[in-house]
């Protein structure tokens, strides 16, 4: 019912042969002229399929030698780290954001080091609720030099993450995922026992060399999990 482009079909067939283990790392795949004959198409079509696979890191191509299945360097999975408001809404629950503090400061030494900048900083803390149950405590710093507009945003209604996604581009991000016992103040804000386990997600985003924002979210342990997948059903 849906016509699949030929180069896409070639790409998919080789990809699944690799994923199913019929082609193993280091194996050589047929040369372009052979695939060209096999699929009865032009070389550019084959080339497009193979280039895409090479770009995705599944093939290594060497002139004169041929194309080879790349050995997977680390097992790279795709991790969904969605905006919390959107994620909760997506699973059909009511979302609420409750801001706890908001201030603008010139960063002290610790913040300057953490943010990697010395410009003025907006600091926000608050709690994310799903169905009126506290889900996560958030503490965030935003680089005002890069994002001046957020000083005028109404962060009591919109959580800063959602505002930033809509307004600020970034080029690079890093998430660190760990577990920790909830510090007393956070346990209180989340209605948990002191020392109860939390899933901690710390994210920094950059634009070029400059830090845009840094956020740490403490999730109530049994109310949230992150899912990373690898496979054809993306």
């Amino acid at each position: 019912m849906k016509p699949v482009p030929l180069h896409e079909r070639i790409r998919a067939e080789i990809e699944s042969a690799i994923m199913a283990g019929h082609l193993r790392p280091g194996d050589r795949i047929p040369k372009e002229t052979e695939l060209m004959a096999q699929y009865d198409c032009a070389r550019m079509t084959v080339n497009k399929a193979l280039s895409a696979l090479a770009g995705a890191g599944m093939l290594e191509r060497r002139k004169r030698a041929g194309s080879f299945v790349a050995r997977p360097r680390a097992q790279s999975m795709v991790l969904d780290v969605p905006d919390l408001a959107a994620a909760i809404a997506a699973r059909g629950q009511r979302y609420r954001w409750d801001i706890a503090s908001r201030k603008i400061t010139a960063p002290d030494r610790a913040q300057a080091e953490a943010l990697g900048v010395s410009a003025k900083v907006l600091s926000v803390t608050g709690v994310h609720f799903a169905e009126e149950l506290p889900l996560a405590f958030e503490e965030r710093m935003v680089n005002l030099a890069l994002v001046p507009g957020i000083a005028d945003a109404d962060l009591s209604q919109t959580p800063p993450g959602s505002w930033l996604i809509a307004h600020v581009p970034w080029t690079e991000a890093e998430n660190r995922i760990s577990a920790a016992a909830a510090p007393p103040a956070i346990a209180r804000a989340l209605g948990m026992a002191r020392g109860a386990p939390c899933l901690v997600l710390e994210r920094r985003t950059w634009r070029g060399p400059d830090t845009v924002t840094r956020v740490r979210q403490y999730f109530v342990a049994d109310r949230y999990e992150l899912v990373a997948r690898f496979g054809p059903n993306l």
Copy 2:
């Protein structure tokens, strides 16, 4: 000194315009015919550059409408879930695996449901050490119908994860990351206090429709973290 292909130059220039913020999410970029005139080249060359950017998720291309800078999605970060033995070795530490139990059973009802198969199952538990400090407790089930060879493997020397990576191809995998208080038996095995927080990583891998293995790893909270990145400097 190094001849950069034209399509690569076009790609890089647009990419850096996006990264520098000159082109912002939602902005329209020049149409192919315009870029074609600007760089004095054929449309296929421009097309290759733009297709690569679209494939990398930096552009959204719509017929008749044009090409637009995609808004970066917080979803889709690349998470490295390396084999523990390799990961620990990679950071220069001594690795040790201590097997605690190993048995082959016909799965009971709960296991059958969890594994999604009713064939015979190899169950293994054990502890991963880094520099003789316990790092993670692992409990794993392996589908013997798909991986008969592991029945003969020496799992007291090689952790099952490393053995599987070397011997078994898979087509699909899912990781669930959460936090939990360590159950008593696991806390004891890891030398932690009862109820201390753990980072829990549960992974299932499939080959086609069949589950290959399912593993749950409990990490001592402050000795391990997962890192997911997005950005050009991979």
